[in-house]
Symmetry: C2
Subunit: 151 residues, 2 copies
Amino acid sequence: MRYASHTFDDLALQASFEAGPRVVTREDIATFARLSGDHTALHTDPDYAASTPLGGLVAHGVLNLAVATGLAFEMGIFEGTILAFRGIEVRFDRPVQPGDALSLRLTVARLDERPRPGRGAVTFDVDLSNQGGRTVLSGSWAMLMARRPSA
Amino acid sequence: MRYASHTFDDLALQASFEAGPRVVTREDIATFARLSGDHTALHTDPDYAASTPLGGLVAHGVLNLAVATGLAFEMGIFEGTILAFRGIEVRFDRPVQPGDALSLRLTVARLDERPRPGRGAVTFDVDLSNQGGRTVLSGSWAMLMARRPSA
């Protein structure tokens, strides 16, 4: 879903925002392997991956995180208002395989006006889930966002 | 640097491993924007980026994290022994700009034999630094690694 751009002052505790689904493809996994340099066999060798309990290639955890950031961009809430991505704390809860369709929900967990005039620190709870509604990645993101000009 | 493959039992507390440098390019940033879907102007619009205090394009934080995972792969310590990447806790300490050369140091911070027979949980302290030796990303990674067959 596409929302209006939000400043720090437009965000309410527990407000939540959704985006997706986006399908993760084999090509996405191959592109991520080349870009990152992480060629671990589970992500790049179909024969090896077929021999594992998962039965096939699995997306890199950090690719799933990258997809989540793209879905967050698509929401539109950060447009012109995000000043910095300060940190990440996530678990990789379940494997993602080619063809899985991922959806993101961000929920405002903490608002802190302190850092400096003109900006506020926002912590979002992050939930990335697959087409079956099961969480594949969860945790929190810390962002620095612009205040409303009048604030 | 390239090391031998390490099982859980080969790792000692405070052992550290290094890899890099790897240069981050404008093309890497453009590829990451397409792959993730995160087209935030600071990463994709040179004119906008030139108008910010940083004076030019900046790499996505999660791209820096992806580069760190590729450098970890290059070390060789995880070859055939990594079973799962369980979670990440990182701060984006400093911006990375095209041309910056990043190096990774992983340090064994915690070893836990408990999870299940045949595997152990390892927490690595993570430090990704630039050509000036300044940290751009820091935190910890939680991995599940295979035990030595005799262990």
